[in-house]
Symmetry: C2
Subunit: 233 residues, 2 copies
């Protein structure tokens, strides 16, 4: 029934109204309130269904499993992460990267999640993720204040960076207007570096935030820095 996700996947979350959803389901608006307290609860359920689908990597110890009982250790994400999985059990660092990238990708696949995520209460799908991240950090030898900082650094990076990237995903019409405005307002004499920057993207044929490795790049910076602070003073 909560397959109102399709509707949001199509027209974005702004096109998801209780009225449109009811139409789609063949009911009248008010029937929905028999299954859901209000729109906030609907969004809550939708977000949690998406985020609940993140799968954990096997670290060789007690793994918190998915609702479906699946604890994946070989899929597209894993293939990109570093080695170390030759042993069968991944180390904490690989597992955190897997977790973050998997969540990042799920949000990119359902862009409306990014904006709704923040305004809605967490449910089990999100608590799971939080607990697992804390577990992996602990496994990595992080405790106390540094674990706390690391936890926030990573979660805020996953949510925030992804959300910002999605902001760069324009519809064709917006893309066209953006292009027009840029060439009208941003001239080489006033903004030489900005012009250069955009030219660079044109040559590379990339849209800012669409380059697949940017999320990983910053994630790596964060993890490196955390490790250094763990090992030094």
């Amino acid at each position: 029934m909560s397959t109102a996700i399709d509707l949001a996947d199509r027209g974005g979350v702004d096109d998801l109204s209780m009225r449109r959803l009811a139409d789609e389901l063949g009911f009248k608006v008010m029937s929905l309130y028999n299954h859901v307290a209000n729109k906030d609860e609907l969004l809550e359920l939708m977000v949690d269904r998406i985020l609940g689908a993140v799968e954990f990597v096997d670290t060789g110890e007690g793994v918190i499993e998915d609702d479906d009982g699946a604890a994946a250790n070989d899929d597209a994400v894993d293939a990109e992460t570093d080695s170390a999985s030759e042993t069968g059990a991944a180390d904490w660092r690989t597992a955190i990267i897997h977790l973050a990238v998997a969540e990042h990708r799920l949000i990119l696949a359902h862009p409306w999640v990014a904006s709704v995520m923040n305004t809605v209460f967490p449910r089990t799908g999100r608590w799971r993720l939080a607990e697992e991240l804390l577990r992996l950090l602990t496994l990595g030898g992080f405790t106390g204040h540094l674990r706390d900082l690391g936890y926030h650094a990573i979660t805020l990076h996953v949510g925030g960076f992804t959300q910002q990237q999605i902001g760069y995903q324009f519809t064709p019409e917006r893309e066209a207007e953006m292009y027009a405005r840029f060439h009208r307002d941003v001239t080489e004499d006033v903004y030489p570096l900005m012009v250069d920057h955009v030219r660079y993207h044109e040559v590379m044929d990339t849209i800012p935030g669409e380059r697949p490795d940017e999320f990983r790049f910053v994630l790596d910076l964060i993890l490196e820095g955390l490790e250094r602070r763990r090992d030094d003073p």
Copy 2:
């Protein structure tokens, strides 16, 4: 006239409707469309006014100045940044930190900016910021792909991290409901680390994302990592 910002500062952006704004100004709704094409343009102007207020630090070279002609080099932000400003002219690193922290604080002071920023076209207030950041990175010896990565890493961090932090700023009622839900759903047997984590925050008497140094912490990780990649292979 664009002092509809007050309205958004008070009740959040959801309480800012064309109708309420007109009421506040003593006009009828439709009069607004004589001064602004539509609501999007209004939000565009509001965001740009806020972000246009970010002041740049003097790096001793050609400084792009504020609209007001102010090129601040000693205020609250500067006091927190590292030394190096004894010379009068700040180095690129200090200046980037200043820039990022200043923008971060402005957004925190007008939380609605975070959510609107992404959905609205940039104007001169934002182009300035982009150009200045690129200038500082160039000053720091970054070129090509690394400068590009650094630029995106920093801008997405400023916007995204801040936005996520704001998501943690609950109203008292939401705070109370969050508290109740947490203690109902997150039990020590299933989520031991999460319980521990929240207990840590309670002892520290901090709300996640309210600790003032978290933004700087991750920013430092990013800048450190960028420097290392600039100096090494």
